[in-house]
């Protein structure tokens, strides 16, 4: 029993540590970009990690009620991605958006 | 479809009779109802309902297998010191032509690590798939056609 709980406690700490690290790495991707879709992808990933984080916290504290938040994130979290995707697609037709230099590994230009 | 509804109705009746509307009890009632329907299979017409059920389960099993397997592959790939990547986008000729089937197929492909549905051609004849290892697109096409696509068509036709 004790061993099981110890293991569980260890697993919780380890999972939190790994997730925290993943968080930071993902945030790093968001910050460095370089393109808008990369950032969006990072944000999407952040939501996924947040779900995992919530779950681990829920197991650690025994408050499973945090699960509802995870469910909602699962359902709604992709909304931001949808909106951005929609944005990126609608920008397609605006010439200034696709500049020649960005054709390859395109980086969204600063707008001015 | 009618049979689904009848089955759900049976589950609800079961819950009402037993006086417990818990989720588990309703699921239990659903299974009991399915059993009851199976008993009268000749009157209700066909076994398609149940066969389809099994095909669905098979599809799910395949999916889970592929999911875990390829997730592992991706994990190994990204954690390996030297990543040997040959990514690319290939066109997959669709046999399925119903929106629902195409969507399901595309999603399953996306969920399976290593492949990613980028778009459906406007004539709905091709599915464009990005693969992290696109060194042999034909093999990939074959895998999908034999795998997910066939099982989907089986489950829903």
């Amino acid at each position: 029993m004790i061993a099981g709980q110890d293991f569980l406690a260890f697993a919780e700490q380890a999972a939190l540590a790994i997730l925290s690290l993943s968080f930071l790495l993902t945030v790093l991707r968001v910050v460095i970009g370089p393109s808008l879709p990369d950032r969006i992808l990072g944000l999407d990933m952040l939501v996924t990690i947040a779900i995992g984080f919530i779950v681990v916290i829920g197991i650690r504290t025994g408050y499973t009620l945090y699960l509802d938040i995870a469910i909602a994130l699962g359902l709604v979290g992709f909304l931001a991605t949808v909106a951005f995707a929609r944005f990126v697609m609608s920008r397609r037709y605006e010439e200034e958006f696709i500049s020649d230099e960005a054709r390859g590994q395109f980086v969204e230009k600063s707008d001015d | 479809m009618t049979l689904y509804l009848i089955n759900i109705l049976l589950a609800l009746i079961w819950a009402a009779i037993t006086g417990s509307f818990t989720f588990a009890n309703i699921v239990f009632g659903f299974l009991l109802g399915a059993l009851a329907l199976y008993l009268i299979r000749e009157q209700v017409g066909s076994l398609g309902y149940f066969r389809r059920g099994f095909k669905l389960i098979a599809l799910a099993a395949l999916f889970l297998y592929e999911l875990v397997l390829s997730a592992w592959r991706v994990a190994v790939l990204v954690l390996s010191p030297r990543m040997d990547l040959k990514p690319g986008i290939f066109a997959f000729p669709l046999k399925a032509d119903r929106d629902f089937e195409i969507t399901l197929l595309a999603n399953l492909i996306t969920l399976t690590p290593g492949t990613l549905s980028v778009d459906v051609s406007e004539d709905r004849k091709f599915l464009y798939i990005h693969a992290i290892d696109c060194s042999d697109p034909d093999a990939l096409r074959r895998d999908i056609a034999q795998g997910f696509e066939r099982r989907i068509m089986e489950a829903f036709r």
Binding site: G4, P37, I51, V56 | A71, I89, L111
Partner: protein
């Protein structure tokens, strides 16, 4: 005994789940272009979260938590491919080219792969 088993299983799943998540995060950083990164993020990440949810389902004592955890997994499975698809499609449509090391691009030749900039949709 059951509790020990449960603890071990839950703990293991947590480790597995966070491992997948971590792998996804690494992939997100290391892979060369958006499309490749999406393989890591949309799947390894999703799988990581899914496994963690499974751990919670096993850990929980009450049915409602179990069913909700399973529902959460299903919701994830439903939405993750959609966002991945949309992002990929949008990025491609917006002109985000594949990594130069890519070996194949059927879409570039496809009629809808070369959409030219056209006037604002009405």
């Amino acid at each position: 005994m059951i509790e020990l088993l449960q603890n071990l299983l839950v703990g293991s799943l947590m480790l597995v789940g966070s491992f997948f998540t971590f792998a996804a995060a690494i992939g997100l950083l290391r892979l060369p272009d958006l499309y490749s990164r999406m393989h890591a993020a949309s799947k390894a990440g999703m799988l990581g979260a899914g496994v963690l949810l499974l751990a919670l389902a096993l850990f929980a004592q009450d049915h409602s938590t179990v069913t909700r955890a399973l529902a959460a997994i299903i919701f994830l499975l439903l939405t993750a491919p959609i966002s991945a698809h949309l992002l990929a499609k949008a990025a491609y449509a917006a002109g985000y080219r594949l990594w130069e090391g890519s070996v194949h691009d059927d879409m570039a030749e496809a009629p809808n792969g070369k959409k030219q900039p056209k006037p604002r949709s009405s």
